[in-house]
Symmetry: C2
């Protein structure tokens, strides 16, 4: 079947795999460093152009990210992949720069109560820290991107006004941070909110280059990505195998799944530069290495045109008589 | 938040819950009749306007549908719900009419090899049977709808040309069957195919009133529904809790989940007339009754504005230090 892009859609999209960071940071068991490195190098070999590989946070707070520098040092960078890391403060930024990241990601929550719960300070204090890190990045020649958590809703406050997203995006832009990500921290995004927020940012903060980051908590993650494509968004964060959340906490779910997203995009004639079969293989190896069933669907069902023998397919209507 | 429908979307959609039929027909263990009846009456009480409640097939072929007449007799019809049943042949149609269904659903596969595997005859023989049943329905005053299986791809043949869908839809229309459903039997639909097929039917078979039926095999079911909404489709088949497929066969998955779909629609200002909380409760009771974890997400995470205490939410960035 000829693959021309769907009407009104971009013809190329950049996938940012955040599995090594967002997927593993809250994993309930220690994840060996070599498992992370194999996963990251596998993603790079599959053609993923950008990865959020780790987080330079206090090891005591997030034990699974304690090996940030070690992970960075072992990554195969021969293919020109862009490696980013999350940095919460100036100390983390210094470590990140030293480890050789291609870009740093600062973050704060659009809702005050979530920011307070997450990083124990007000949104304004976080914005000041972001400005400081932006300056450090500028001095070191390392770009700084900005993430906005709870951009589609807050688990404590409920709805988050779009004005708060605009306010944070403008503050980021004032600090020179124009590549921003709207983070759907607890899976509250809906296509309607995606449409509304993308349009408001396009009109009110035209400098902002917006990426989207969804969790599939309520099953609508890929529909939200689809809505984002229609708003012209061309960078999406996802995690291989849909890893994330806590497998022992019912309802806590991971990011949208990278290979399911790549499948949807490529089948719609939207190019990602990623080899889907190779990505599926990384997802399967990750599942095996972590020893937990992961939510990705395409890794279980196979690509669309996988052929089956008659004995493998159950009667769909059950009408054989 | 005010709920005006998304631009270019319908403001009302009809959900057809097919869980009692498509969800349970291949369930690997016998499902007690009272479990089915409680599920069906629960769906009706939640406001689901139409249900595919059973299948009048040979009991030997599909043991879980052997109680079709008994189920029909026990349904609470005081709310004016529309009850349909699948009928494979004239004998099944006679039983369905006798049991008092509101409409019968005939079916065949767009791909010859799947039709052969499923009902052991050619597409043309199935079309002749559909015409015979349409005549029976006309005589009995019972409407007949037509389902087209493998409408987005065939597990044996791969791609299914859109011309085959048009051909079957025209043949249905010639027999007076104008309410048709495009069935994504093994989860091969993509937004692009949805767009293409809906547009072709609208132009080539303008009499056809098209509904969509997706399986979430590759994770893109709700994105396909979203694409369908944009083509003006207003009837969607789904199953409560996402039940279906075979829980013991990896990769075999159920229909898109009714409550996840209702959540997406209602949050987009598209009305379904369904009480989401009540529907979630049916999903949870069904999961408990079947004793298997089911794929629905909203039934686990709760509605969008469910509020959490601080201790219930893990730090999203893991940056507390």
């Amino acid at each position: 079947m000829t693959q021309v892009p769907l009407e009104g859609f971009p013809d190329r999209v950049r996938i940012v795999d955040v599995g090594p960071r967002d997927g593993l940071q809250a994993w309930p068991e220690p994840v060996p460093t070599d498992v992370k490195i194999e996963m990251i190098n596998g993603l790079i070999a599959a053609g993923v152009p950008q990865l959020e590989v780790t987080s330079f946070v206090a090891p005591r707070a997030v034990p699974n990210m304690a090996d940030a520098a070690e992970v960075m040092a072992a990554i195969d960078r021969s293919r020109g992949v862009e490696l980013t890391a999350l940095v919460p403060n100036a100390r983390g930024a210094a470590r990140a720069i030293q480890s050789g990241v291609d870009a740093m990601v600062v973050f704060l929550s659009a809702s005050q109560s979530h920011n307070q719960a997450n990083v124990n300070c007000s949104r304004e204090v976080s914005l000041a820290a972001a400005a400081e890190i932006a300056k450090m990045g500028q001095d070191a020649g390392v770009p700084v991107y900005g993430a906005i958590a709870t951009a589609f809703g807050c688990p404590f406050e409920g709805d988050v006004p779009v004005e708060d997203i605009v306010l944070v995006a403008k503050a980021y832009a004032d600090s020179g941070i124009t590549k921003i990500t709207l983070g759907d921290t607890t899976g509250m995004a809906t296509p309607r909110l995606v449409q509304e927020r993308c349009r408001r940012l396009a009109s009110d903060v035209p400098d902002a280059d917006v990426a989207l980051h969804f969790h599939n908590t309520r099953g609508v993650g890929l529909a939200c990505a689809y809505a984002g494509l229609q708003e012209g968004i061309t960078r999406f964060e996802a995690s291989v195998a849909g890893i994330g959340g806590c497998p022992f906490a019912p309802g806590a779910t991971g990011n949208i799944c990278s290979e399911d997203l790549v499948y949807m995009l490529e089948e719609s004639g939207i190019h990602t530069g990623i080899d889907l079969d190779a990505l599926i293989a990384v997802a399967q190896r990750t599942e095996a290495a972590l020893g937990q069933k992961l939510p990705g669907q395409v890794m279980k069902a196979g690509p669309r045109l996988r052929k089956y023998g008659r004995d493998e397919v159950r009667s769909s209507s059950g009408s054989r008589a």
